[in-house]
Symmetry: C2
Subunit: 677 residues, 2 copies
């Protein structure tokens, strides 16, 4: 029932052709390194579900045999490959390996992991073979996700490349698919069993049921283990691949092709999985034979290149299962695992203690809780190329939420340089954001804008935590700390770099360059192309200095009268409530995360800069103009609620106490300023 | 890890004390009416989980025995009451009964139903015992939800009241709790088995596993059936209740008290359920004995009056399960049921056919799909009292989405009369909206504002479908068709009612009263208290006539120059693109749902009014002022996309073809007007 727009969200993954495979990795290593290990226990049954597929590049699995359709359904139609009811021993650690490279696969893998976590009842150990991009993303994500009873290990895909790069391959991603061939060697030698998953599968059941198949087949498999050992897996697949290459005019060979070829030559290696463990979606309908009987689908595999847009009369059913986890609030998966000892990650432990120590009767409890929350962070949610190293380069740093997406195109037109933008979104909104960018030619064209998703949690807007994520991810030596509603002068990016060079900021001069701020009340207005034009608009009342009517203190120290005439940068002094937009070195102080919601979040940062002796230098040709927008929920609450204002006052005072502690007598002037009306 | 604000979302349900009960209803009826029915098959085992609880009004279940903690876990710790592994026969229809009254319980029941649908693999028949409010809400919801393989029957709670109202009861909701006692008589006599659920439970497993317990115990239960029959349930509970009332100084007696007392007297009636089927949450921790062993929780029962705010070291775990379904996109549960014949509701069938007939290559496919979608509708999401019948009363009708919540308080201050507002939200946003209203004294105080949630689906904003929901739910004879960004003059509500009376609209005069529209560009401005003040602001340029700069055609026919001087209502003529805000009888034409997204949605409605010979009368003292806001995503797309504008053009032309079909030559003038530049 959903129009086309939504399914596009999935994008097009590198077509990984390997389906669910269950490997007895211990086996593969055993004859090489681990002769001494006990043999009776470890089972192995390579179990490949797709048969040999032609190498013509058509969607794989189209005419695939989906295993045995005679699957278990509540006691009916039992077949030989029915998973046994007894699940793995309680609290057994289950191992899962996934090969993941690039931005798109990193997003996919999160959906897969969410579906797995939703149903799992065992501790899990994820073995992630990643490139540098995926590792950067996933390390940050799992670190901030803090899911109990989940361990994550990373393996460097680049190190494995030489082992498979001799195989001709069309796509960059194909190379990563081939890495599944060398997993036995890449994973720890004492790892006996692992479930290997593609990134484009969705669980609809507990992975423990899949894991249980190891035990079920162990008797049968041990025999095969011996056969495999005699054959030698590594030699086997390499030989097969070489032979395939000889006999075929193919320009590429995918991992699945090699698996299929090995299996063809050694059918005894294979034990088919029940089809419910690999319901493949394609334009063809053979999979129906499986699931129409089953009513008990366990894993869905989006192995058509069309992904969610696949033509299949039941696709709506599968789509809903996939979207469930695509849009699922990952915070809800931080739940503990009952019945098994599952120590929390140290940060989570610490956080719980801190939360427990809060005074339940404190009128500002919501503020204090919000400050303590650790938000899940997905850095570089979309493809991003880091800027080349340049000594005076500047990244525009800002944060936003859904209601500001529409300024992004204009911002991209005004700022041709790198940006680091943090977005405060729910999991579902992150998918909307993805579609928004994909639908915009302007946004899709930019690779120097990094979008970092900070997942929403709690009732107050953690503005400074979000800003700090954007700031931490800026990769140039300088940052322009802006707000999302400001459009910079078209010349600003070039002008700032020239100013940084001229003022010799790199030479150890500690300065914050002030970009004067203006505002318009009109949604449609023609942006001034020069300072002269801006001044003309100011004189006709079409523009104002920023917050001229509501909060002149915030920018008064910039001294707009002086700026009108200025030909060179000039120094200004800090004053109470000053909150200019500034350019500073990337290693500047972070924003104080205690300021959540509306008020004082930038002011405190400027205090911090002043306390650390940053010169405040106003740039004579720089400007940015604030566009009108609906007031944020937090500013509305600030205006309407005394309690909210009282809490902000309490936060300010605590901030000043901390300042005194850190800067001593030098911080006295801030406290004095605060006490003045 | 979540601050306090969120758990509040649940609110406080009427404290229903009955836990999961499994009844053999066939039994109860059998000796009365159905002697001829086969006896061997139907099993019954009333199974009450909480023991006798003191009648002191403290949270029940605090010190409850949660059944047998020695529950099944993957083959460990088996006890006698372990559910048998074989599930009910495939495709067996499972019956569920729920008593539900009022707005709050209606919301709760939806979360329960979502959790049940998520895990279920059988067709379901819901038996809902409701008051008029809940029935109105749930009938609309299930009708628009269109979930395959779910049947819903309603039973009138008011009819059952006399059977239980003799029992002294503190709360209105307590009476509804007591209705569980008379369910055997209220449900159809041929209904043999039913699972009775409280509204405040969340499933974490397939209800079929619970249903299977009927079969498991059937052998045992049949014996008990005989005993029960001999005893006679109806007499039994009534006698017990009467005795309890004699022996206790209690001012009220809850259903659970009576069940407990009956059980105490007749212990043979009871078969405990495994504790995992009723994990009760309270400040006490006895339930831990169950679930720490289990790791396999099947049903969570929020039976503490504190609900999600309960103090319990594992509450975070349970909260996540609950929030999962509270915020779950109900559209995803429209998925079909594989393996069982599950005919779609006729509307869903028709919709699927219509969607399938669309041309995949049509550039306007997204528009056509969006028009066809049937959105789930939750009417009166919050408590609402219908306005008393008054012949000239007017309801303000408007629609909004999350980004406009902040105007609601101002709107309430400007319009003291009834409102019917439709909100286009996701399930998660609906919960945010609930918290927003609860946090606002202004909004919480109003019972004459009806909020109807239309659940989001599809990429375009179905503005006219949403408006039609708000319009259909208006309960006064007249409606003011406004937009959410307009603040009406403070006097408008009274003035409109007086004008309706004066103009004798009730007497069959077919007219649309025009409320002239103005706009301000300032977020802060002082609202004019009279027409004179408004004109003064207009003269100083602080206000404009609406869309004066961007789209003067939209309101030019209102003739603002004439309005300045007018002392009496004056008639104006329709002209192309006219889109005034009007007051019309409630039975006016609906908005044309084909207009989705930005453009022509109101214009088409005014054309329709003109085609049906509504007089357009401008009211001389009426006005409303548009507040500034960030442009909507759809207006941005309209501005930036040629394809979008082309599709709107196509929609317009189809609209005119339909007009010609319906109004013949009279519609020619609209087409002529359209063709003019």
């Amino acid at each position: 029932m959903l129009p086309r727009g939504r399914p596009r969200a999935l994008g097009a993954a590198a077509l990984l052709l390997l389906l669910l495979l269950l490997f007895g990795f211990f086996l593969f290593r055993e004859d090489l390194e681990c002769e001494r290990r006990e043999r009776g226990r470890s089972g192995a049954f390579p179990c490949v579900l797709t048969p040999r597929i032609p190498l013509d590049g058509r969607p794989r699995g189209a005419a695939a045999l989906d295993g045995d359709p005679q699957v278990d359904h509540r006691g009916h139609n039992h077949s030989d490959c029915v998973p046994p009811r007894p699940l793995p021993p309680r609290c057994e650690l289950l191992h899962v390996a996934i090969v993941c490279a690039g931005h798109k696969s990193s997003r996919d893998v999160i959906t897969l992991v969410k579906s797995m976590l939703f149903y799992r009842k065992n501790p899990l150990h994820l073995h992630l073979v990643t490139d540098a991009v995926a590792r950067n993303i996933l390390e940050t994500l799992f670190h901030t996700w803090m899911v109990p009873a989940v361990r994550v290990s990373f393996y460097d895909a680049d190190e494995l490349k030489p082992q498979v790069s001799w195989i001709p391959n069309k796509h960059y991603s194909g190379l990563y698919g081939l890495m599944k061939l060398v997993l036995p060697g890449a994973l720890p030698p004492d790892l006996a069993r692992v479930v290997v998953l593609d990134t484009d599968v969705t669980f609809a059941s507990d992975i423990a049921e899949l894991w249980a198949l190891f035990a079920h087949f162990s008797g049968v498999i041990l025999l095969r283990l011996d056969r495999l050992r005699r054959a030698g897996w590594e030699q086997m697949w390499k030989l097969t691949a070489t032979q395939e290459l000889l006999s075929l005019p193919a320009t590429s060979l995918a991992d699945q092709d090699i698996f299929n070829a090995v299996i063809k030559g050694h059918p005894g290696l294979v034990q088919p999985l029940p089809c419910v463990w690999n319901v493949q979606l394609s334009d063809h309908t053979l999979a129906e034979r499986c699931y129409l009987e089953a009513a008990d689908i366990k894993v869905i595999h989006w192995n058509s290149p069309k992904k969610l847009r696949v033509k299949n009369k039941h696709v709506e059913f599968f789509r809903t299962l996939h979207l469930t986890f695509l849009e699922y609030d990952g915070n809800l998966l931080r739940r503990e695992l009952f019945g098994c000892p599952s120590p929390l990650p140290p940060e989570a432990e610490q956080l719980q203690r801190a939360l427990a120590q809060l005074d339940e009767e404190d009128a500002c409890l919501a503020f204090r809780q919000q400050q303590l929350l650790v938000h899940r962070v997905h850095i570089t949610f979309l493809p991003h190329e880091p800027p080349p190293p340049r000594p005076h380069d500047v990244t525009l740093v800002a944060q936003l939420s859904m209601d500001r997406l529409q300024v992004l195109e204009a911002l991209c037109r005004h700022w041709p340089g790198p940006m680091s933008l943090a977005l405060y979104l729910t999991d579902a909104e992150a998918q909307q954001f993805l579609r928004f960018v994909e639908a915009s030619a302007v946004l899709s064209a930019r690779r120097d804008v990094a979008y970092h998703v900070v997942y929403r949690e709690g009732p107050l807007y953690p503005i400074n935590q979000i800003r700090n994520v954007a700031l931490a991810q800026a990769l140039t030596p300088y940052v322009f700390l802006s707000d999302i509603d400001f459009l910079p002068a078209h010349s600003l990016y070039d002008y700032l770099r020239a100013s940084i060079e001229q003022l010799q900021l790199g030479g150890g001069r500690k300065a914050a360059l002030v970009v004067p701020a203006f505002e318009t009340l009109h949604y449609h207005f023609s942006f001034p192309s020069s300072k002269a034009e801006l001044l003309a608009l100011l004189d006709t009342g079409s523009l104002y200095t920023f917050r001229y009517h509501e909060w002149p203190r915030g920018h008064a120290p910039t001294d707009y009268a002086r700026w009108r005439e200025a030909q060179a940068p000039y120094r200004v002094q800090w004053a109470a409530d000053y909150e200019p937009y500034v350019v500073v070195p990337r290693d500047c102080p972070r924003y104080d995360p205690r300021f959540v919601g509306f008020g004082w979040n930038k002011v405190a940062h400027i205090v911090e800069l002043d306390a650390q002796d940053y010169e405040l230098l106003v740039l004579p040709e720089a400007f940015a103009i604030h566009l009108p927008h609906t007031p944020s929920p937090d500013i509305s609450r600030f205006r309407s609620s005394t309690a909210y204002r009282d809490c902000l006052q309490a936060l300010k005072e605590e901030f000043h106490q901390d300042l005194s502690r850190r800067y001593g007598a030098a911080a006295l002037k801030y406290l004095t300023a605060l006490r003045q009306p």
